[in-house]
């Protein structure tokens, strides 16, 4: 049996390395960044998984929906970050904004397991702060800002779709997955998942989880 040929994981975003990226954590080694507009030139036959950043141009993606669909149907994995306004791939559903009053309405709960979130305590994605150093959850309740993970949901889910995580007391699906051909699509409806990597929290492993899933080893 020959070795798998599709092993590379790539991330597509707007103008990698531009000043807009300053302050964003570096992607894990192995996740290679490309400008979204280079998508048609990529050798998709060597790529196992694509991370689509929330900055991506959905009009452009829609124009290349056949290319994306062929990629997934032939066994590729696609992680869609952000808010899908105009579904650019079979199965994607539009993101909807949640009505919320405070952090309790934005709590994330696990609805079913997925390798990307394995070992992640979802309490660790609720609050974000720029105050340096590690912080307890109780401290973050005082100084943290909630809601970066997401303030919206996806309903109804596509046929064959499965909610991974829910937001708020009603556990509206914020993250979901569905099979497409031989491949899989995962949607995270909020700020890019990769930005939640934090060495002081259980999300320390999130980058490796994402990379492993995109590479097809998880």
């Amino acid at each position: 049996m020959s070795a798998p040929t599709r092993t590379r994981a790539v991330s597509l975003l707007l103008d990698p390395g531009s000043p807009n990226s300053i302050g964003m954590p570096s992607p894990p080694a192995g996740l290679v960044e490309h400008d979204l507009y280079d998508l048609p030139e990529l050798d998709l036959g060597s790529i196992s998984g694509i991370n689509l950043a929330s900055s991506c141009d959905q009009v452009f993606l829609g124009r290349h929906r056949d290319l994306l669909e062929d990629f997934v149907r032939s066994g590729g994995r696609l992680l869609v970050n952000g808010h899908v306004a105009e579904p650019f791939l079979t199965g994607l559903v539009p993101w909807r904004r949640l009505s919320y009053k405070g952090p309790r309405d934005l709590e994330i709960t696990s609805l079913s397991p997925h390798p990307i979130w394995e070992g992640i305590d979802l309490r660790d994605v609720l609050y974000r702060t720029g105050v340096p150093g590690p912080h307890s959850f109780e401290e973050l309740e005082r100084i943290g800002v909630a809601g970066f993970y997401g303030r919206g949901y996806h309903l109804p889910l596509p046929e064959g779709g499965r909610a991974i995580n829910g937001v708020g007391p009603l556990q509206a699906p914020i993250d979901y997955t569905y099979p497409l051909g031989s491949g899989e699509v995962v949607v995270h409806g909020g700020v890019d998942l990769i930005t939640f990597v934090d060495p002081h929290r259980t999300t320390a492993r999130l980058g490796e989880n994402i990379l492993g899933w995109l590479e097809g080893t998880a």
Partner: protein, 211 residues
Amino acid sequence: MSTPEIAFIHGGSGSHLTTLNEPALQPYRLRPIYLYDLTPDDLSDVDAVIVADREHPKLLAQHGKTIYGVAERGGVLAVFGQNAAEQWLPGVGWEPRPTNFWWWRTGEDNHMRLQRTDEPIWDYFSERAMIWHHHGVLTPPEGATTLVGVEEDGTMVGATTYYDTVSTAGELFVTTMDPCYHHGAAFMPGASQLLYSTVRWVEHRARALSG
């Protein structure tokens, strides 16, 4: 007169598309211009242009002269943040700053200083709209008016938002804030306020200048 023609240059991001679909903005009949396909003809007959925040910086800079041309011929130009405006707006300086998004939880100084005056533009912008967070400090062109300044170590070092009625025959409103992104992501009420306020101001000025 009829409603002014206001072009809204967007990059197709989820936030841009959500902003364009916003019910509160439909009465303005914004003309969506997709940056990837932009040609000079698209802007030849507009009274005003709003450049959404967080566009592809290189793609945007390629069209900088065309976009600035709308102000040069007497139109209104509003430029939102994260657009490397210093690369295509003449006479503008820029220094990035880390974003402090948590100052309101810890009581830290956000360094933003409202420069409110009796000028009519202030009928359009509230403190809530103008101060939430920013991404850097602009040095406005000579003669432009700082609307929100940045004070560091007791010195005003630049602006997060300014307007400019002297550089061109038209008027410019430039900010380092990114209201489309945060409005589209349903994040901050202040961001939605800035978005709505700017569109309202642009319509008002475009009507006045073209009337």
